[in-house]
Symmetry: C2
Subunit: 304 residues, 2 copies
Protein backbone atom coordinates (compact mmCIF):
# COMPACT_ATOMS: atom_id res chain seq x y z
CA UNK A 1 0.00 0.00 0.00
CA UNK A 2 1.04 3.60 -0.39
CA UNK A 3 1.04 5.87 2.59
CA UNK A 4 -0.04 3.89 5.58
CA UNK A 5 -3.57 4.73 6.64
CA UNK A 6 -3.95 3.55 10.21
CA UNK A 7 -7.52 4.78 10.57
CA UNK A 8 -8.64 3.14 7.36
CA UNK A 9 -7.02 -0.11 8.45
CA UNK A 10 -8.71 0.05 11.82
CA UNK A 11 -12.09 0.77 10.25
CA UNK A 12 -11.67 -2.19 7.94
CA UNK A 13 -10.80 -4.44 10.86
CA UNK A 14 -13.76 -3.22 12.83
CA UNK A 15 -16.23 -3.52 9.98
CA UNK A 16 -15.15 -7.10 9.36
CA UNK A 17 -15.84 -8.31 12.85
CA UNK A 18 -18.94 -9.73 14.47
CA UNK A 19 -17.50 -8.89 17.85
CA UNK A 20 -17.34 -5.14 17.39
CA UNK A 21 -20.45 -3.06 16.95
CA UNK A 22 -18.88 0.39 16.78
CA UNK A 23 -15.22 1.16 16.77
CA UNK A 24 -13.12 4.23 16.13
CA UNK A 25 -14.93 7.46 15.61
CA UNK A 26 -16.39 7.11 19.09
CA UNK A 27 -14.78 7.36 22.49
CA UNK A 28 -14.96 3.63 23.14
CA UNK A 29 -15.46 0.57 21.03
CA UNK A 30 -18.57 -1.45 21.79
CA UNK A 31 -17.92 -5.16 21.89
CA UNK A 32 -20.77 -7.51 21.26
CA UNK A 33 -20.27 -10.85 22.89
CA UNK A 34 -23.06 -13.41 22.57
CA UNK A 35 -25.37 -11.72 25.02
CA UNK A 36 -24.17 -8.40 26.35
CA UNK A 37 -22.32 -5.35 25.14
CA UNK A 38 -18.98 -4.29 26.57
CA UNK A 39 -17.36 -0.88 26.19
CA UNK A 40 -13.59 -0.82 25.78
CA UNK A 41 -11.22 2.14 25.59
CA UNK A 42 -7.48 2.60 25.90
CA UNK A 43 -5.13 5.54 26.43
CA UNK A 44 -1.37 5.70 26.67
CA UNK A 45 0.38 8.58 28.46
CA UNK A 46 4.06 9.23 27.67
CA UNK A 47 6.55 11.30 29.67
CA UNK A 48 7.67 14.33 27.68
CA UNK A 49 4.66 14.14 25.42
CA UNK A 50 1.54 14.13 27.63
CA UNK A 51 3.23 15.22 30.87
CA UNK A 52 6.61 15.98 32.36
CA UNK A 53 7.19 13.59 35.21
CA UNK A 54 9.76 15.82 36.91
CA UNK A 55 7.26 18.69 37.01
CA UNK A 56 3.98 17.01 37.90
CA UNK A 57 4.99 13.91 39.83
CA UNK A 58 3.84 10.35 39.29
CA UNK A 59 0.76 10.56 41.49
CA UNK A 60 -0.96 13.06 39.21
CA UNK A 61 0.14 11.05 36.17
CA UNK A 62 -1.39 7.88 37.61
CA UNK A 63 -4.61 9.66 38.42
CA UNK A 64 -4.82 11.20 34.97
CA UNK A 65 -4.05 7.94 33.16
CA UNK A 66 -7.12 6.36 34.72
CA UNK A 67 -9.22 9.55 34.56
CA UNK A 68 -8.88 10.02 30.79
CA UNK A 69 -10.14 6.48 30.27
CA UNK A 70 -13.01 7.08 32.70
CA UNK A 71 -13.88 10.18 30.71
CA UNK A 72 -14.13 8.06 27.54
CA UNK A 73 -16.50 5.64 29.25
CA UNK A 74 -18.52 8.64 30.50
CA UNK A 75 -18.69 9.98 26.95
CA UNK A 76 -20.52 6.79 25.93
CA UNK A 77 -22.85 7.06 28.91
CA UNK A 78 -21.34 3.91 30.39
CA UNK A 79 -20.43 2.53 33.77
CA UNK A 80 -16.76 1.57 34.18
CA UNK A 81 -16.10 -1.96 35.39
CA UNK A 82 -12.50 -3.17 35.08
CA UNK A 83 -9.09 -1.97 33.95
CA UNK A 84 -5.72 -3.42 33.06
CA UNK A 85 -2.63 -1.27 33.58
CA UNK A 86 0.63 -1.57 31.66
CA UNK A 87 3.68 0.34 32.82
CA UNK A 88 7.10 1.14 31.44
CA UNK A 89 8.89 2.43 34.53
CA UNK A 90 12.12 4.43 34.32
CA UNK A 91 15.13 3.04 36.18
CA UNK A 92 15.48 6.17 38.32
CA UNK A 93 13.36 5.95 41.49
CA UNK A 94 11.44 3.00 40.08
CA UNK A 95 9.79 2.02 43.34
CA UNK A 96 8.67 5.48 44.33
CA UNK A 97 7.38 6.22 40.83
CA UNK A 98 5.36 2.98 40.89
CA UNK A 99 4.06 3.72 44.37
CA UNK A 100 3.06 7.27 43.47
CA UNK A 101 1.34 6.12 40.28
CA UNK A 102 -0.84 3.76 42.21
CA UNK A 103 -1.52 6.28 44.94
CA UNK A 104 -2.88 8.42 42.12
CA UNK A 105 -4.97 5.67 40.56
CA UNK A 106 -6.24 3.91 43.64
CA UNK A 107 -8.68 6.50 45.03
CA UNK A 108 -10.13 7.06 41.58
CA UNK A 109 -10.55 3.32 41.00
CA UNK A 110 -12.33 3.05 44.34
CA UNK A 111 -14.49 6.08 43.70
CA UNK A 112 -15.70 4.82 40.34
CA UNK A 113 -15.93 1.12 41.15
CA UNK A 114 -13.17 0.07 38.77
CA UNK A 115 -11.72 -3.38 39.37
CA UNK A 116 -8.02 -3.54 38.55
CA UNK A 117 -8.02 -6.88 36.72
CA UNK A 118 -4.33 -7.12 35.92
CA UNK A 119 -1.48 -5.49 34.10
CA UNK A 120 2.07 -5.73 32.87
CA UNK A 121 4.82 -3.95 34.77
CA UNK A 122 8.24 -3.36 33.24
CA UNK A 123 11.33 -1.29 33.93
CA UNK A 124 13.38 0.06 31.07
CA UNK A 125 15.89 2.73 30.11
CA UNK A 126 13.22 4.98 28.59
CA UNK A 127 10.87 7.56 30.12
CA UNK A 128 7.69 6.68 32.01
CA UNK A 129 4.90 5.07 29.94
CA UNK A 130 1.45 4.37 31.40
CA UNK A 131 -1.10 2.53 29.25
CA UNK A 132 -4.54 1.70 30.62
CA UNK A 133 -7.36 -0.24 29.00
CA UNK A 134 -10.72 0.28 30.67
CA UNK A 135 -13.86 -1.79 30.19
CA UNK A 136 -17.37 -0.73 30.97
CA UNK A 137 -20.98 -1.61 30.52
CA UNK A 138 -23.49 0.57 28.72
CA UNK A 139 -25.73 2.83 30.81
CA UNK A 140 -29.53 2.69 30.80
CA UNK A 141 -29.72 4.38 27.38
CA UNK A 142 -27.28 1.91 25.79
CA UNK A 143 -24.02 3.13 24.26
CA UNK A 144 -24.37 6.81 23.37
CA UNK A 145 -22.43 7.37 20.16
CA UNK A 146 -21.13 10.50 18.47
CA UNK A 147 -23.30 9.88 15.45
CA UNK A 148 -26.86 10.47 16.65
CA UNK A 149 -27.26 14.26 16.59
CA UNK A 150 -30.23 15.53 14.56
CA UNK A 151 -30.90 18.98 13.11
CA UNK A 152 -32.78 21.03 15.69
CA UNK A 153 -31.09 19.30 18.65
CA UNK A 154 -29.78 21.51 21.37
CA UNK A 155 -26.10 21.22 22.18
CA UNK A 156 -25.53 21.10 25.94
CA UNK A 157 -22.32 20.91 27.94
CA UNK A 158 -21.33 20.28 31.53
CA UNK A 159 -19.02 22.64 33.42
CA UNK A 160 -16.79 25.31 31.90
CA UNK A 161 -13.98 25.49 29.38
CA UNK A 162 -10.45 26.72 28.79
CA UNK A 163 -7.25 27.07 30.75
CA UNK A 164 -6.99 23.42 31.85
CA UNK A 165 -3.22 23.79 31.67
CA UNK A 166 -3.44 25.61 35.02
CA UNK A 167 -4.43 22.37 36.73
CA UNK A 168 -7.68 20.87 35.49
CA UNK A 169 -5.83 18.81 32.87
CA UNK A 170 -4.65 16.63 35.76
CA UNK A 171 -7.23 17.17 38.46
CA UNK A 172 -10.50 16.98 36.52
CA UNK A 173 -13.31 14.75 37.69
CA UNK A 174 -14.38 12.43 34.90
CA UNK A 175 -18.09 12.93 34.28
CA UNK A 176 -19.14 9.33 34.79
CA UNK A 177 -21.83 10.01 37.40
CA UNK A 178 -23.10 12.97 35.43
CA UNK A 179 -23.45 10.93 32.24
CA UNK A 180 -25.44 8.29 34.10
CA UNK A 181 -27.66 10.87 35.78
CA UNK A 182 -28.32 12.58 32.45
CA UNK A 183 -29.82 9.37 31.10
CA UNK A 184 -32.40 9.34 33.87
CA UNK A 185 -33.58 12.81 32.85
CA UNK A 186 -33.21 12.84 29.07
CA UNK A 187 -32.24 10.77 26.06
CA UNK A 188 -28.96 12.12 24.67
CA UNK A 189 -28.81 11.55 20.91
CA UNK A 190 -25.04 11.93 20.73
CA UNK A 191 -22.29 12.62 23.26
CA UNK A 192 -18.54 13.23 23.45
CA UNK A 193 -16.01 14.26 26.06
CA UNK A 194 -13.96 17.38 25.38
CA UNK A 195 -10.32 16.37 25.17
CA UNK A 196 -8.99 17.88 21.93
CA UNK A 197 -10.80 21.18 22.53
CA UNK A 198 -14.43 22.32 22.51
CA UNK A 199 -14.45 23.39 18.85
CA UNK A 200 -12.46 20.37 17.66
CA UNK A 201 -14.62 17.87 19.53
CA UNK A 202 -17.93 19.45 18.51
CA UNK A 203 -16.47 19.19 15.03
CA UNK A 204 -16.15 15.45 15.65
CA UNK A 205 -19.79 15.27 16.77
CA UNK A 206 -20.80 17.13 13.62
CA UNK A 207 -18.76 14.92 11.34
CA UNK A 208 -19.84 11.60 12.86
CA UNK A 209 -23.49 12.73 12.84
CA UNK A 210 -23.30 14.03 9.29
CA UNK A 211 -24.66 17.41 10.49
CA UNK A 212 -23.31 20.77 11.56
CA UNK A 213 -23.33 22.76 14.80
CA UNK A 214 -23.73 26.41 15.58
CA UNK A 215 -22.03 27.54 18.79
CA UNK A 216 -23.44 30.61 20.56
CA UNK A 217 -20.36 32.57 21.60
CA UNK A 218 -22.05 34.42 24.44
CA UNK A 219 -23.36 31.22 26.03
CA UNK A 220 -20.13 29.23 26.22
CA UNK A 221 -19.17 28.87 29.89
CA UNK A 222 -15.63 30.17 30.23
CA UNK A 223 -13.57 28.95 33.17
CA UNK A 224 -11.82 31.25 35.62
CA UNK A 225 -8.56 29.66 34.45
CA UNK A 226 -9.23 30.72 30.85
CA UNK A 227 -9.79 34.31 31.99
CA UNK A 228 -6.66 34.18 34.10
CA UNK A 229 -4.55 32.97 31.16
CA UNK A 230 -5.79 35.39 28.58
CA UNK A 231 -2.84 37.53 27.59
CA UNK A 232 -3.03 38.01 23.85
CA UNK A 233 -5.61 35.27 23.44
CA UNK A 234 -9.21 35.96 24.42
CA UNK A 235 -10.94 33.87 27.10
CA UNK A 236 -13.34 32.63 24.41
CA UNK A 237 -10.43 31.46 22.28
CA UNK A 238 -9.08 29.56 25.27
CA UNK A 239 -12.48 27.99 25.89
CA UNK A 240 -12.83 26.92 22.25
CA UNK A 241 -9.33 25.69 21.69
CA UNK A 242 -7.45 24.68 24.82
CA UNK A 243 -8.80 21.18 25.28
CA UNK A 244 -8.38 18.70 28.13
CA UNK A 245 -11.47 20.08 29.83
CA UNK A 246 -12.92 16.56 30.06
CA UNK A 247 -16.43 17.91 30.22
CA UNK A 248 -19.34 16.34 28.33
CA UNK A 249 -21.01 17.79 25.26
CA UNK A 250 -24.25 16.21 24.11
CA UNK A 251 -27.15 16.70 21.72
CA UNK A 252 -30.75 16.37 22.89
CA UNK A 253 -34.27 17.19 21.75
CA UNK A 254 -35.11 20.82 22.58
CA UNK A 255 -37.73 19.63 25.10
CA UNK A 256 -35.17 17.46 26.89
CA UNK A 257 -32.68 20.32 26.71
CA UNK A 258 -35.07 22.82 28.24
CA UNK A 259 -35.90 20.43 31.06
CA UNK A 260 -32.20 19.78 31.82
CA UNK A 261 -31.46 23.51 31.85
CA UNK A 262 -34.42 24.17 34.16
CA UNK A 263 -33.87 21.22 36.51
CA UNK A 264 -30.04 21.24 36.58
CA UNK A 265 -30.02 17.65 37.89
CA UNK A 266 -26.23 17.27 38.22
CA UNK A 267 -25.00 17.82 41.77
CA UNK A 268 -22.50 20.67 41.72
CA UNK A 269 -22.05 20.60 37.94
CA UNK A 270 -23.89 23.08 35.75
CA UNK A 271 -25.46 22.25 32.40
CA UNK A 272 -25.34 24.98 29.74
CA UNK A 273 -27.07 25.30 26.39
CA UNK A 274 -24.34 26.43 24.01
CA UNK A 275 -25.43 25.49 20.53
CA UNK A 276 -27.74 24.03 17.92
CA UNK A 277 -27.47 21.16 15.49
CA UNK A 278 -28.04 22.25 11.88
CA UNK A 279 -28.25 20.31 8.62
CA UNK A 280 -25.38 22.25 7.01
CA UNK A 281 -22.16 20.31 7.68
CA UNK A 282 -19.43 22.13 9.58
CA UNK A 283 -19.03 24.32 12.59
CA UNK A 284 -20.33 27.89 12.99
CA UNK A 285 -19.93 30.54 15.65
CA UNK A 286 -22.82 32.93 16.28
CA UNK A 287 -21.92 36.12 18.07
CA UNK A 288 -24.09 39.23 18.48
CA UNK A 289 -26.58 37.65 16.08
CA UNK A 290 -24.03 37.04 13.29
CA UNK A 291 -23.24 33.47 12.24
CA UNK A 292 -19.83 32.70 10.67
CA UNK A 293 -17.94 29.53 9.88
CA UNK A 294 -15.57 28.56 12.67
CA UNK A 295 -12.16 27.57 11.29
CA UNK A 296 -10.91 24.16 12.43
CA UNK A 297 -9.12 24.24 15.77
CA UNK A 298 -7.09 21.74 17.68
CA UNK A 299 -5.74 19.00 15.52
CA UNK A 300 -5.93 15.31 15.16
CA UNK A 301 -3.75 13.37 12.80
CA UNK A 302 -3.00 9.66 12.64
CA UNK A 303 0.13 9.89 14.78
CA UNK A 304 -0.83 12.50 17.33
Amino acid sequence: MGEFDYIRWLRGQIAASNHVRVGIGDDCAVLRPAVQETLITTDMLLDGSHFRLAEVGAQRVGRKALAVNLSDIAAMGGKPTAAVISLGLPRANTNSVAEDLFHGMHPLAEEFGVAIAGGDTNTWNGPLVVSITLLGEPGPAGPILRSGAKPGDWLLVTGSFGGSILGKQFDFTPRVREALTLQRHARPHAMIDISDGLAADIGHLAEESGQGFVLFAERIPISAAARQLSAGVSPLEHALGDGEDFELAFAVDPADGQRLIDEQPLAGVSISHIGLCVPEPGLYLESAGRREPLPPRGYSHPFQ
Copy 2:
Protein backbone atom coordinates in the same frame (compact mmCIF):
# COMPACT_ATOMS: atom_id res chain seq x y z
CA MET B 1 2.60 1.88 53.39
CA GLY B 2 6.17 0.70 53.50
CA GLU B 3 7.77 -0.77 50.45
CA PHE B 4 5.25 -0.67 47.68
CA ASP B 5 3.83 -4.08 46.92
CA TYR B 6 2.25 -3.90 43.50
CA ILE B 7 1.17 -7.53 43.46
CA ARG B 8 -0.49 -7.29 46.87
CA TRP B 9 -2.28 -4.15 45.78
CA LEU B 10 -3.51 -5.82 42.62
CA ARG B 11 -4.68 -8.88 44.52
CA GLY B 12 -6.59 -6.68 46.93
CA GLN B 13 -8.24 -4.83 44.08
CA ILE B 14 -9.18 -8.07 42.37
CA ALA B 15 -10.52 -9.72 45.50
CA ALA B 16 -12.72 -6.71 46.20
CA SER B 17 -14.49 -6.78 42.86
CA ASN B 18 -17.61 -8.56 41.70
CA HIS B 19 -16.47 -8.08 38.13
CA VAL B 20 -13.31 -10.10 38.35
CA ARG B 21 -13.39 -13.79 39.04
CA VAL B 22 -9.67 -14.54 38.81
CA GLY B 23 -6.92 -12.06 38.34
CA ILE B 24 -3.16 -12.08 38.59
CA GLY B 25 -1.55 -15.41 39.12
CA ASP B 26 -3.04 -16.59 35.86
CA ASP B 27 -2.29 -15.65 32.29
CA CYS B 28 -5.49 -13.66 31.88
CA ALA B 29 -8.02 -12.15 34.21
CA VAL B 30 -11.54 -13.52 33.93
CA LEU B 31 -14.17 -10.82 33.95
CA ARG B 32 -17.64 -11.70 35.05
CA PRO B 33 -20.22 -9.41 33.56
CA ALA B 34 -23.85 -10.13 34.35
CA VAL B 35 -24.15 -13.09 32.06
CA GLN B 36 -20.91 -14.18 30.45
CA GLU B 37 -17.24 -14.44 31.23
CA THR B 38 -14.61 -12.45 29.38
CA LEU B 39 -10.88 -13.13 29.37
CA ILE B 40 -8.59 -10.09 29.37
CA THR B 41 -4.81 -9.89 29.11
CA THR B 42 -2.30 -7.16 28.36
CA ASP B 43 1.36 -7.01 27.41
CA MET B 44 3.65 -4.08 26.74
CA LEU B 45 6.79 -4.46 24.61
CA LEU B 46 9.52 -1.82 24.94
CA ASP B 47 12.42 -1.13 22.57
CA GLY B 48 15.75 -1.89 24.25
CA SER B 49 14.08 -4.08 26.83
CA HIS B 50 12.03 -6.72 24.99
CA PHE B 51 13.53 -6.18 21.52
CA ARG B 52 15.93 -3.96 19.61
CA LEU B 53 14.02 -2.26 16.86
CA ALA B 54 17.11 -1.59 14.77
CA GLU B 55 17.96 -5.31 14.79
CA VAL B 56 14.62 -7.03 14.37
CA GLY B 57 12.47 -4.48 12.52
CA ALA B 58 9.01 -3.30 13.38
CA GLN B 59 7.14 -6.04 11.52
CA ARG B 60 8.44 -8.77 13.84
CA VAL B 61 7.79 -6.53 16.84
CA GLY B 62 4.18 -6.00 15.78
CA ARG B 63 3.67 -9.68 15.22
CA LYS B 64 5.17 -10.57 18.59
CA ALA B 65 3.18 -7.94 20.47
CA LEU B 66 -0.04 -9.59 19.36
CA ALA B 67 1.33 -13.14 19.56
CA VAL B 68 2.33 -12.92 23.25
CA ASN B 69 -1.20 -11.83 24.12
CA LEU B 70 -2.65 -14.65 21.99
CA SER B 71 -0.42 -17.05 23.88
CA ASP B 72 -1.93 -15.83 27.17
CA ILE B 73 -5.46 -16.44 25.87
CA ALA B 74 -4.33 -19.89 24.69
CA ALA B 75 -2.95 -20.61 28.16
CA MET B 76 -6.46 -20.17 29.57
CA GLY B 77 -7.92 -22.38 26.84
CA GLY B 78 -9.77 -19.41 25.39
CA LYS B 79 -10.74 -18.04 22.02
CA PRO B 80 -9.43 -14.53 21.24
CA THR B 81 -12.03 -12.00 20.17
CA ALA B 82 -10.91 -8.36 20.15
CA ALA B 83 -7.83 -6.23 20.82
CA VAL B 84 -6.95 -2.60 21.41
CA ILE B 85 -3.49 -1.40 20.43
CA SER B 86 -1.64 1.51 21.99
CA LEU B 87 1.54 2.78 20.39
CA GLY B 88 4.32 5.15 21.35
CA LEU B 89 6.06 5.68 18.00
CA PRO B 90 9.56 7.14 17.71
CA ARG B 91 9.97 10.29 15.61
CA ALA B 92 12.44 8.60 13.28
CA ASN B 93 10.69 6.83 10.37
CA THR B 94 7.35 7.10 12.17
CA ASN B 95 5.24 6.15 9.18
CA SER B 96 7.29 3.17 8.12
CA VAL B 97 7.53 1.88 11.70
CA ALA B 98 3.74 2.14 12.06
CA GLU B 99 3.17 0.47 8.72
CA ASP B 100 5.57 -2.37 9.49
CA LEU B 101 4.01 -2.92 12.92
CA PHE B 102 0.61 -3.39 11.40
CA HIS B 103 1.98 -5.58 8.61
CA GLY B 104 3.24 -7.78 11.43
CA MET B 105 -0.02 -7.77 13.38
CA HIS B 106 -2.52 -7.94 10.56
CA PRO B 107 -1.99 -11.51 9.29
CA LEU B 108 -1.98 -12.82 12.85
CA ALA B 109 -5.18 -10.94 13.70
CA GLU B 110 -6.81 -12.41 10.59
CA GLU B 111 -5.52 -15.90 11.30
CA PHE B 112 -6.88 -15.93 14.84
CA GLY B 113 -10.09 -14.01 14.26
CA VAL B 114 -9.08 -11.02 16.38
CA ALA B 115 -11.09 -7.85 15.80
CA ILE B 116 -9.00 -4.72 16.23
CA ALA B 117 -11.48 -2.66 18.23
CA GLY B 118 -9.46 0.52 18.64
CA GLY B 119 -6.28 1.96 20.02
CA ASP B 120 -4.30 5.04 20.87
CA THR B 121 -1.48 6.12 18.57
CA ASN B 122 1.14 8.62 19.69
CA THR B 123 4.51 9.88 18.53
CA TRP B 124 7.12 10.89 21.06
CA ASN B 125 10.83 11.42 21.56
CA GLY B 126 11.27 8.03 23.25
CA PRO B 127 11.84 4.55 21.85
CA LEU B 128 9.07 2.37 20.39
CA VAL B 129 6.40 1.17 22.84
CA VAL B 130 3.67 -1.29 21.83
CA SER B 131 0.95 -2.15 24.32
CA ILE B 132 -1.86 -4.53 23.40
CA THR B 133 -4.88 -5.57 25.43
CA LEU B 134 -6.59 -8.69 24.13
CA LEU B 135 -10.02 -9.99 25.08
CA GLY B 136 -11.28 -13.50 24.63
CA GLU B 137 -14.04 -15.87 25.53
CA PRO B 138 -13.52 -19.08 27.46
CA GLY B 139 -13.22 -22.33 25.52
CA PRO B 140 -15.54 -25.33 25.97
CA ALA B 141 -13.89 -26.26 29.28
CA GLY B 142 -14.31 -22.75 30.72
CA PRO B 143 -11.27 -20.74 31.79
CA ILE B 144 -8.39 -23.12 32.52
CA LEU B 145 -6.46 -21.70 35.45
CA ARG B 146 -3.00 -22.37 36.82
CA SER B 147 -4.42 -23.59 40.08
CA GLY B 148 -6.14 -26.87 39.26
CA ALA B 149 -3.28 -29.41 39.17
CA LYS B 150 -3.76 -32.45 41.45
CA PRO B 151 -1.19 -34.92 42.76
CA GLY B 152 -0.91 -37.80 40.31
CA ASP B 153 -1.67 -35.60 37.28
CA TRP B 154 0.59 -35.99 34.29
CA LEU B 155 2.39 -32.89 33.11
CA LEU B 156 2.20 -32.59 29.32
CA VAL B 157 3.69 -30.02 26.97
CA THR B 158 3.34 -29.04 23.34
CA GLY B 159 6.37 -28.66 21.09
CA SER B 160 9.99 -28.36 22.18
CA PHE B 161 12.03 -26.02 24.35
CA GLY B 162 15.13 -23.86 24.46
CA GLY B 163 17.05 -21.59 22.13
CA SER B 164 14.13 -19.33 21.23
CA ILE B 165 16.63 -16.48 20.93
CA LEU B 166 17.61 -17.92 17.55
CA GLY B 167 14.22 -16.90 16.17
CA LYS B 168 11.28 -18.60 17.84
CA GLN B 169 10.97 -15.73 20.34
CA PHE B 170 9.57 -13.67 17.46
CA ASP B 171 8.22 -16.23 15.03
CA PHE B 172 6.39 -18.63 17.34
CA THR B 173 2.84 -19.68 16.62
CA PRO B 174 0.64 -19.01 19.65
CA ARG B 175 -1.02 -22.27 20.64
CA VAL B 176 -4.61 -21.05 20.46
CA ARG B 177 -5.89 -23.77 18.13
CA GLU B 178 -4.01 -26.43 20.07
CA ALA B 179 -5.51 -25.33 23.39
CA LEU B 180 -9.01 -25.49 21.93
CA THR B 181 -8.38 -28.91 20.36
CA LEU B 182 -7.01 -30.25 23.65
CA GLN B 183 -10.32 -29.49 25.34
CA ARG B 184 -12.15 -31.73 22.88
CA HIS B 185 -9.90 -34.67 23.84
CA ALA B 186 -9.25 -34.13 27.54
CA ARG B 187 -10.03 -31.96 30.53
CA PRO B 188 -6.90 -30.02 31.46
CA HIS B 189 -6.85 -29.34 35.21
CA ALA B 190 -4.35 -26.50 34.93
CA MET B 191 -2.50 -24.84 32.08
CA ILE B 192 0.15 -22.18 31.42
CA ASP B 193 2.17 -20.90 28.49
CA ILE B 194 5.94 -21.03 28.76
CA SER B 195 7.26 -17.48 28.61
CA ASP B 196 9.61 -17.11 31.60
CA GLY B 197 11.16 -20.54 31.01
CA LEU B 198 9.99 -24.12 31.39
CA ALA B 199 11.24 -24.53 34.97
CA ALA B 200 10.08 -21.10 36.10
CA ASP B 201 6.61 -21.49 34.62
CA ILE B 202 6.10 -25.03 35.90
CA GLY B 203 7.10 -23.48 39.23
CA HIS B 204 4.19 -21.07 38.77
CA LEU B 205 1.81 -23.98 38.09
CA ALA B 206 3.10 -25.70 41.23
CA GLU B 207 2.73 -22.61 43.38
CA GLU B 208 -0.74 -21.64 42.18
CA SER B 209 -1.94 -25.26 42.54
CA GLY B 210 -0.37 -25.65 45.99
CA GLN B 211 1.43 -28.77 44.75
CA GLY B 212 4.81 -29.73 43.33
CA PHE B 213 6.04 -31.11 40.01
CA VAL B 214 8.68 -33.63 39.10
CA LEU B 215 10.22 -33.10 35.66
CA PHE B 216 11.68 -36.15 33.89
CA ALA B 217 14.93 -34.86 32.40
CA GLU B 218 15.14 -37.49 29.67
CA ARG B 219 11.63 -36.76 28.43
CA ILE B 220 11.87 -33.01 27.96
CA PRO B 221 11.71 -32.24 24.23
CA ILE B 222 14.76 -30.17 23.41
CA SER B 223 14.65 -27.96 20.34
CA ALA B 224 17.23 -28.03 17.59
CA ALA B 225 17.97 -24.40 18.46
CA ALA B 226 18.85 -25.35 22.05
CA ARG B 227 21.30 -27.97 20.79
CA GLN B 228 22.76 -25.50 18.33
CA LEU B 229 23.33 -22.92 21.08
CA SER B 230 24.87 -25.17 23.65
CA ALA B 231 28.42 -24.01 24.17
CA GLY B 232 29.11 -24.19 27.90
CA VAL B 233 25.43 -24.64 28.73
CA SER B 234 23.82 -28.04 28.15
CA PRO B 235 20.84 -28.35 25.80
CA LEU B 236 18.73 -29.41 28.82
CA GLU B 237 19.70 -26.23 30.67
CA HIS B 238 18.64 -24.21 27.65
CA ALA B 239 15.31 -26.06 27.50
CA LEU B 240 14.66 -25.51 31.21
CA GLY B 241 15.75 -21.91 31.44
CA ASP B 242 15.68 -20.00 28.17
CA GLY B 243 12.01 -19.07 28.06
CA GLU B 244 9.94 -17.45 25.32
CA ASP B 245 9.07 -20.87 23.92
CA PHE B 246 5.36 -19.96 24.05
CA GLU B 247 4.40 -23.62 24.22
CA LEU B 248 1.66 -24.93 26.50
CA ALA B 249 2.21 -26.96 29.65
CA PHE B 250 -0.82 -28.58 31.26
CA ALA B 251 -1.81 -31.07 33.92
CA VAL B 252 -4.31 -33.86 33.19
CA ASP B 253 -5.53 -37.12 34.66
CA PRO B 254 -3.19 -39.97 33.73
CA ALA B 255 -5.95 -41.55 31.61
CA ASP B 256 -6.42 -38.29 29.67
CA GLY B 257 -2.66 -37.97 29.41
CA GLN B 258 -2.17 -41.46 28.01
CA ARG B 259 -4.89 -40.88 25.44
CA LEU B 260 -3.37 -37.56 24.31
CA ILE B 261 0.07 -39.16 23.98
CA ASP B 262 -1.36 -42.05 21.98
CA GLU B 263 -3.69 -40.03 19.77
CA GLN B 264 -1.48 -36.95 19.25
CA PRO B 265 -4.52 -34.91 18.17
CA LEU B 266 -2.66 -31.65 17.42
CA ALA B 267 -1.91 -31.18 13.75
CA GLY B 268 1.85 -30.83 13.34
CA VAL B 269 2.49 -30.19 17.05
CA SER B 270 3.67 -33.02 19.28
CA ILE B 271 2.45 -33.59 22.84
CA SER B 272 5.02 -34.93 25.31
CA HIS B 273 4.67 -36.32 28.81
CA ILE B 274 7.41 -34.64 30.79
CA GLY B 275 6.42 -34.75 34.42
CA LEU B 276 4.19 -35.62 37.36
CA CYS B 277 2.29 -33.55 39.91
CA VAL B 278 3.25 -34.46 43.49
CA PRO B 279 1.92 -33.29 46.86
CA GLU B 280 5.33 -31.99 48.00
CA PRO B 281 5.55 -28.30 47.08
CA GLY B 282 8.36 -27.27 44.79
CA LEU B 283 10.04 -28.42 41.63
CA TYR B 284 12.13 -31.57 41.19
CA LEU B 285 14.22 -32.98 38.36
CA GLU B 286 14.40 -36.73 37.94
CA SER B 287 17.31 -38.00 35.88
CA ALA B 288 18.52 -41.58 35.55
CA GLY B 289 16.07 -42.53 38.28
CA ARG B 290 17.36 -39.93 40.78
CA ARG B 291 15.03 -37.15 41.94
CA GLU B 292 16.57 -33.86 43.15
CA PRO B 293 15.17 -30.41 43.92
CA LEU B 294 15.47 -28.10 40.93
CA PRO B 295 16.79 -24.69 41.94
CA PRO B 296 14.63 -21.75 40.84
CA ARG B 297 15.37 -20.55 37.31
CA GLY B 298 14.38 -17.58 35.31
CA TYR B 299 13.18 -14.77 37.44
CA SER B 300 10.12 -12.72 38.09
CA HIS B 301 10.05 -9.69 40.28
CA PRO B 302 7.50 -6.92 40.57
CA PHE B 303 9.23 -4.64 38.09
CA GLN B 304 10.51 -7.06 35.52
